[in-house]
C-alpha cells in the first residue's frame, strides 16, 4: 500500500520533472530539422529557473483571476497524472476517482482558467488569444468526445488501464481499423492541444499566436507556473497517447522501483519517437492561414467517426 502511494507520488513527480525536458527536446529538434542549431534540450529548465527569480509585474486591470489562474492550471496538471498510467499498468490509489473523460475534464478546466486569465488582463492580445483558443476548443471538444466514445466502444470501458490491458492482450484489437483510426484522430487532437497545428507558427510571438497571446501579460513566477503547466499538459497528452493508445507496452507491471525507473526511461523513449513524428509533421506541413484552422479538426472528427463505424465489426 505504501509502495503504491509512493508510486503514485512518483507518477506525479515524473510528469512534473520531465515535462520541461520533453518541451526542450521538441524545441531543439524543430530547429534541427530546419538545419539550425537550436537551444539546448535543458533550456526550458533554465527558463523556468530564471522566471522564478524575476520580479512580478501585475496589470492594473487584473482581478483575483489573474492570481489564481496559474495556480489552478498548475494544480490541474498535477492532478491528471494520478488518473492515468504514467509508470504502472495497474491502478494506483486514487486512480479510480476519474476515467478518461474525467481526466479530459480536468485538463479543460486548466485551459479554461487560462482563457479567463487572458480576458481578465484586459489587453487586446489576451482577448484575441482567448477567443482563438476557445474557437479551437469548441471545435476540438466534440472530436475529443467522439474519440472517447470510440475508445469506450473498443474497450467497453472508459478506464485508461482497461484500454491499456486490452491492447496489450489482444493484437487483433490493436491492429483493428477502429484502433488505427482512433490513433490518427487522437494524433490530430494532440497537435491541436499542444499548438503544433500548421496554423501555429514556430516563432511564437507574432500576430497569429494563440497560446502565447493568452499569457502575454504574465511575468515572473506566475509566468513560470503557466509555462510549466503548459509543458505538463503536453506531457500528459503524450502519456495518454503513448501509454493508453499507441505504445501500451513497457510499463511497470509489478510496481518495483526498477520497474518504475525502467518505465520512466521507456516513457522518454516513446515520447522522443512521437515528438520526432510531431516535429516532422509540423515542419513538413506548409503553414496555413489562420482561418483554415477547422480543416485539421474536421479531418480528426471524421477519423473518429470512421473509428466508431469500424467498431461495428466485433
Amino acid at each position: 500500500m505504501t509502495r503504491d502511494i509512493l508510486l503514485q507520488v512518483a507518477q506525479v513527480f515524473t510528469v512534473l520533472a520531465l515535462a520541461p525536458l520533453l518541451q526542450g527536446v521538441i524545441l531543439q529538434w524543430e530547429e534541427r530539422v530546419q538545419r539550425a542549431q537550436g537551444p539546448g534540450i535543458f533550456q526550458p529548465y533554465r527558463d523556468l529557473w530564471k522566471l522564478f527569480h524575476k520580479q512580478l509585474v501585475v496589470p492594473e486591470t487584473a482581478s483575483f483571476i489573474y492570481w489564481i489562474a496559474p495556480v489552478i492550471a498548475f494544480t490541474c496538471m498535477l492532478t491528471v497524472p494520478i488518473l492515468i498510467p504514467v509508470l504502472t499498468n495497474f491502478p494506483l490509489p486514487l486512480s479510480d476517482m476519474g476515467d478518461i473523460l474525467g481526466g479530459g475534464l480536468i485538463l479543460t478546466l486548466g485551459s479554461f482558467f487560462i482563457v479567463l486569465a487572458g480576458l481578465d488582463s484586459g489587453s487586446a492580445y489576451g482577448g484575441i488569444g482567448s477567443s482563438r483558443a476557445v474557437m479551437l476548443g469548441i471545435l476540438a471538444e466534440p472530436t475529443l468526445i467522439l474519440v472517447f466514445v470510440g475508445i469506450t466502444l473498443l474497450a467497453k470501458s472508459m478506464l485508461p488501464f482497461v484500454v491499456n490491458h486490452l491492447l496489450v492482450a489482444q493484437p487483433a484489437v490493436y491492429w483493428s481499423p477502429a484502433h488505427i483510426f482512433l490513433l490518427a484522430a487522437f494524433f490530430i487532437l494532440l497537435l491541436v492541444e499542444t499548438d503544433r497545428l500548421p496554423i501555429h507558427s514556430s516563432t511564437h510571438i507574432e500576430v497569429y499566436m494563440i497560446e502565447e497571446a493568452r499569457i502575454l501579460e504574465y511575468s515572473g513566477p506566475l509566468l513560470a507556473l503557466l509555462k510549466w503547466a503548459s509543458a505538463m499538459k503536453q506531457f500528459i497528452l503524450y502519456t495518454i497517447f503513448c501509454n493508453v493508445l499507441l505504445l501500451p507496452w513497457a510499463l511497470s507491471v509489478r510496481g518495483t522501483a526498477v520497474g518504475a525507473l525502467g518505465a520512466a526511461a521507456a516513457l522518454l523513449l516513446k515520447f522522443f519517437l512521437v515528438a520526432a513524428t510531431v516535429v516532422v509533421v509540423e515542419t513538413a506541413q506548409s503553414r496555413l492561414r489562420y482561418y483554415r484552422y477547422q480543416e485539421p479538426l474536421a479531418a480528426s472528427f471524421l477519423l473518429s467517426i470512421l473509428a466508431i463505424v469500424a467498431n461495428q465489426l466485433r
Binding site: 487483433a172 480543416e295 474536421a298 471524421l302 467517426i305 470512421l306 461495428q312 465489426l313 466485433r314
Partner: protein, 226 residues
C-alpha cells in the same frame, strides 16, 4: 452467407479495406483539386478490386478473381484515364466556388456516416447479423451513397459531378462484393461495362457543354427553371 464464418484476420482485412475506401470518399469530399479527386477515386477502385479478390479467396468464389481484375482495369485505370482526359480538356484544375467549404462538407459527411451507421445497425439487428462484416459493409455502402449525393449537391464542376456519380456506383459495388458475392457474374460484368459507357457519355456531354453552353460549371446552368 459470407459474413457468418470468417476468420478474424479476414474480417479485419475486409473492414480495413472498406473503411479505407470510405476514407478515400472523404478525401474526395474534402479536396478542392480535381486531380486529387481522380487519384482518390482510382485508389478507391483498386481497394475495391483487392476486396473482391479477398472475398474470392475467403468466400470461395473463384469468378470474383476475374471481377477483381476487371475492376482494377476498368475502374482503376480506364475510368481515371478517361476522366483525366476530360480534366485536361477543361483547363480547370480546381473547384472554384464551393457551396460548402471542404471542412464543413467533411463534417456534414461525418454526420451522414453516423446516419448510415444507425440505419445499418438497425437493419443488421433486424436480420440478426449484428457485429458481422455485413453490417460494416452496409454502413460503408450507405455512407458512400450519401457522400456521393452530398458531393453532387455541393460541387458544381462537371468533373466533380461525374466523380460523385462514380462514388455512388463504387459504394454499391463495394457493398455488393461483401453482401452478395454470389451475384451472377454476367450482371457484374454488365454493370462494369455500363459504367464505362456512362463515363463515355458524360465525356461527350462535357464537350457539348463547353461548346454550346460555354461553361464547365453547373452553376451556370440556370436557364431552365419553373
Amino acid at each position: 452467407m459470407l459474413a457468418a464464418h470468417l476468420p478474424p484476420l479476414a474480417a479485419s482485412l475486409f473492414s480495413l479495406l472498406a473503411i479505407t475506401s470510405l476514407l478515400l470518399a472523404f478525401v474526395m469530399l474534402g479536396s478542392r483539386w480535381l486531380r486529387e479527386y481522380m487519384i482518390a477515386f482510382a485508389v478507391q477502385s483498386w481497394l475495391i478490386a483487392v476486396l473482391s479478390a479477398a472475398v474470392a479467396y475467403y468466400g470461395g468464389y473463384p469468378e470474383l478473381y476475374a471481377i477483381a481484375a476487371l475492376t482494377a482495369l476498368f475502374r482503376g485505370l480506364v475510368l481515371p484515364y478517361l476522366l483525366s482526359r476530360i480534366i485536361r480538356r477543361l483547363e480547370i484544375d480546381r473547384e472554384l466556388h464551393e457551396r460548402l467549404s471542404p471542412s464543413s462538407s467533411l463534417v456534414v459527411g461525418g454526420l451522414l456516416v453516423v446516419f448510415a451507421f444507425v440505419v445499418s445497425t438497425h437493419l443488421g439487428a433486424a436480420l440478426g447479423l449484428a457485429g458481422t462484416v455485413a453490417v460494416l459493409a452496409l454502413t460503408v455502402m450507405l455512407s458512400m451513397k450519401l457522400i456521393g449525393f452530398l458531393m453532387l449537391v455541393v460541387r458544381s464542376e462537371v468533373v466533380s459531378q461525374i466523380l460523385a456519380i462514380l462514388v455512388l456506383e463504387n459504394g454499391i459495388f463495394l457493398g455488393s462484393q461483401i453482401l452478395v458475392p454470389g451475384m451472377p457474374m454476367l450482371l457484374e460484368l454488365v454493370i462494369l461495362f455500363d459504367l464505362l459507357v456512362v463515363v463515355a457519355c458524360f465525356g461527350v456531354l462535357v464537350r457539348y457543354l463547353l461548346v454550346h453552353a460555354g461553361t464547365s460549371s453547373t452553376r451556370e446552368l440556370t436557364r431552365l427553371t419553373g
